[in-house]
Symmetry: C2
Subunit: 204 residues, 2 copies
Amino acid sequence: MAKQFIFLVSSDQRTFLQTVRSLFPCAVANRSLDFLWRFWSSGFFLAEGLSARSVLQQCLYAMLQVKRADDQSDAECVEIDRGMVYICFFKCATEDIIPKMANTLCEADSGKYVSVLDLPGSVLIVPQATLGGKAKGKGMQYHNNIGKEEGLQLYSNFVSFFEKELALSSKSSKIATIIKHGTYGNRQVLKLDTNRPCTHLMEF
Amino acid sequence: MAKQFIFLVSSDQRTFLQTVRSLFPCAVANRSLDFLWRFWSSGFFLAEGLSARSVLQQCLYAMLQVKRADDQSDAECVEIDRGMVYICFFKCATEDIIPKMANTLCEADSGKYVSVLDLPGSVLIVPQATLGGKAKGKGMQYHNNIGKEEGLQLYSNFVSFFEKELALSSKSSKIATIIKHGTYGNRQVLKLDTNRPCTHLMEF
């Protein structure tokens, strides 16, 4: 039954009503159908747009180059020994998803879902705008991605929130959890070693 | 208005009707509301379930251990120099998504979305069941993942399809595209080098 949905999304009123009638032959008075169509076409049943997407990649070691070498200085890198997360914000992202995102980062070693704030281990936060891409024809579209400035702001706030929460967490002070992060908008060089690639997708 | 959806998904009939009334104060006769609730709670408005998810990670080099060392032999590894894809099948996956998945693997070097079959480069296909995980309370659930045997079958068919298409592709024979793949259900050791982590999510 659920299969019909995809078809209905782009259907006109006639197709919609025909499908409803074929699926629920007993329960259909015309007045009720008009009512149902009104709700359907008003967009009432559309799911809320995504605010952010993160991919957690468990690793043993990761190194990210955050600044390229130039005439004055060598390249700068950050390293961690466990846990990496790619994040991407969409247009409708607001500050209030930050605590939620930080608390639902999971670690799957034991199959348990634990906030990274309660974990032994480290986190490397990598901004990853391509995660917001959507295949369209022969290209990838990023129309739903957040604007550059708002994205930078949210990314910085996300990292600060994370660092602040970690400093407050009694568990992390005992086990020295480390937070490192990439540079928003920069081309990044990444090395990754895992003993079991373990990739989780989270959407907010 | 769409915001209400998330709330409604897990709501009872009373909450559902209250929300409908507050959003559409003029249009609500009780009989119609009952009717609307019947459709809502029947699951009629649920989106079709996903069949598969893949994550493409662009890389310069990747190495995957496909067999662990034992008394008789050393560990076996496969290596590629460009492009890696994690795939995960869901319960409702069937054979007919395989060609679609193989053709929509993208490569983002030029910002263009190209089937890997038309690319210079290589592909490492990594089975990644954790991609099907869903956060639930304090755990990750994999209820929607495909069963082990059906998953293995689809995975094998996916790899074979890919190899066959590649052999037929005139472009790939000129540029020696290589396909390597991980072992379904095995613990895997992965090394990855990128000069720009570029992560795309595809859902089918």
